[in-house]
Point group: C2
Chain length 491, copies 2
Amino acid sequence: MTAYDDLMGFQRQTEALSQVAGRLGWDQETMMPKGAAEQRGEEIGAMEEVLHARRTAPELGDWLAAIDDTALDEVGRAQMRLIRRDYARRVRVPGKLAARIARVTSVAYGKWADARANEDFAGFAPVLAEIVALRREEGAHIADGGDVYDAMLDGYEPGATGAQIAEMFDALRPGLVALRSAVLDRREPSQVRGHFDHGAQMILARKVAEVFGYDFHRGRIDKAVHPFSSGSGADVRITTRTAAEDPFNCIYSTIHEVGHATYEQGIDPAYGLSPLGQGVSLGVHESQSRIYENQLGRSRAFCHWLYGQMRDAFGDLGVRNEEAFYKAVNRVHRGYIRTEADEVQYNLHIMLRFDLERDMAAGKLEVADLEEAWNARFAQDFGYPVDKPSNGVLQDVHWAAGLMGYFPTYALGNVYAGCLYRAMLDGVPGLDDQLAMGDLSGATGWLRDNLQQHGGLYAPREVVERACGFAPSEVPLLGYLEYKFADLYGL
Amino acid sequence: MTAYDDLMGFQRQTEALSQVAGRLGWDQETMMPKGAAEQRGEEIGAMEEVLHARRTAPELGDWLAAIDDTALDEVGRAQMRLIRRDYARRVRVPGKLAARIARVTSVAYGKWADARANEDFAGFAPVLAEIVALRREEGAHIADGGDVYDAMLDGYEPGATGAQIAEMFDALRPGLVALRSAVLDRREPSQVRGHFDHGAQMILARKVAEVFGYDFHRGRIDKAVHPFSSGSGADVRITTRTAAEDPFNCIYSTIHEVGHATYEQGIDPAYGLSPLGQGVSLGVHESQSRIYENQLGRSRAFCHWLYGQMRDAFGDLGVRNEEAFYKAVNRVHRGYIRTEADEVQYNLHIMLRFDLERDMAAGKLEVADLEEAWNARFAQDFGYPVDKPSNGVLQDVHWAAGLMGYFPTYALGNVYAGCLYRAMLDGVPGLDDQLAMGDLSGATGWLRDNLQQHGGLYAPREVVERACGFAPSEVPLLGYLEYKFADLYGL
């Protein structure tokens, strides 16, 4: 046994424990009895401590010092790159600081929920200020002299920098703002109406999941308040939700989570329970969920197929034909909430958050001034004012959970999805004909072969570039949106 | 912080991790996608290693050396008694031996299942011989000069000895054999017949669980191939099964598991996530499941109530009236399988296993001679010969799983249940009137107040004796069975 073998055996157990910890979260949202919440908190805390101890274990440092990466093959070198990176990030953070962050964020959730219910940002600001201060302190430790926000971002999107993302977003914004204005001046398309039985929605959700390539032999679907995908390797579970009046909530939540889940399921099984055996970054992960949900799932061809499926499942949908259905699916409408936004406006929500949190990380924006900054920027980008904090600065839980540097990965995912779709159109001849028949095997197969299978083998930007054959940029996404919505709205 | 506080903090995390590990088993039997079996094995193995490391950790030894139990209160002394006992048992077993036992028993399950399917005991005997040898070696380490079988037994029923149980069983056997012969000569009572919808069975199972005091706020019920109860504290889950032709399978499996689960739920919440916070032994646990299932659930009064419930749920049951229904529930019939046995014959199945495994542990019986010994003993106690290994020596998985000293706790549970029922008749005036109305609150309340709440505070035999007010013996059980079945069969 070499040091590398020992290390990989140790990592294998850590990854297995990490899967167990993740499944506790799944259970909590789907199966857990209500009265078990407090005990569950202790169970999760105990698992986190075990995992933290393993991920900062002194023997890990010894192995890393002993191993010569250049003597390994490509896969071995990639494993070492991920292990070294994670270890370096973790050991730079003092244990007391990590514990304090865990403590503060664990109580912040309740305070954020209260503040949102009471439309009271001022009541939440002191807690948020403490979180931002702690995260900045942590970021400074990790950055080790470099940029604090980049250090935060790197935790979710290895290799990305704030400057690079700002450049991309700045190039994207004007086009989106212009498109938003042009579209919102038009008459709203009709919406679907009908009786959408919960059970029938779940049956259709299962069918759609299967059509998109989700493997139920290695997964399952349940209901949860907030849809999510959970797990890696041979046990990747998704959740969805149903709303009696809005069948698209269930269908497109399912397709989105199926995108995340098929990515995990599509990774080379040889990487199972190793650092390479999971999606390489949040941005690349989101590119899979978004291309499934939007470029494929909201395409004209797929919507025509879905129209037939939904007529079979629910009867009359209150729209004239499949083309009216396609328009209803892609309806652009005024709104305040990121998670309810359409393809045109979604990235504007993200850019706003990115700029604000980057300024907070740099010490240029105080939490006390955050609400005002949010509202000013929202009016500028969206063309109408925020009406209340729950529709503005208090709408998302991320900052309350201590997540800084996380938001931009959503829009980065959209940018990557735009690039991948551009390449897929060349790589999958007759794609639209397939989608019109509810056949996603060409699209899913192309993504698996060109991107998903690699897991963590290549850096995030690199794996997208390899799949596309060109350097990722915002250009394909913007072109796709302008073309699609000009066509939809007769611009 | 004293050493005791440190120790209890450490134990609290260990117990939390143990709950997580246990829930992996629940998930595996109820929710896990089929394709995840292999990965799950690694997850469970990783959790077991974490738990083993904590339970044999050197700092545990340091704390145990530093703490003066006499300076603690009653609860503290009881906690220390359990921690010291568990630690002493574990550190006596060499790590390599423990690992070898884990390895051999993990492959033995498949070989046992194959042997059972092929009716081939000889094919399984070599594996079983290895398991028995390893367990004897382990038992010798734990016994440290004492009796090997007692050391095995003590792992499941602290304080019990083979000699004590043998004496009790020897006193019980003649009465049971006589009762069996007398009853099996009589005409068989009628059986229920009807259409037992799976969904309706589950609805009734939920109702019956609630009636027996199971708290769904801290638990849930699902289907599994083999019913079980899982978890302690605020998250105690049960499973049951349904068979289209046999509604009693579902109802009485549910009541049995509810007995286990309400025991866990009835423990003083102050003991949560501590060594005291779970049922004190397998025998006492089984006493709760058995008194719920048999003395209460198969009583005339409760059966009369259940008859009405089942008529409401399923319509005609094919029996004349509630009295015929009561007789059908308590039908004594020929059979080979322990898990399908009635109250009269069940303990005979256990005694056979107890004597055989005790002889194997003592080196008086070789595995090669086990099948012959089983068949001879079966004919003697049951009055008819075993027809095939799957109905004989290969029917139970326990020995293949390395469980020696486990079987007698089932019968010990019946004996304890007999004692507790005797005491409950005095402690709960009007018990039968309550049962006849489907009101179990008096019975469950009595058990909670007198036994369940104490968790691990008292030794197993002691907690039963405290609840009953007399020293446990086989006399009440035998008296109960003789009276009940003489009445049922008109002896």
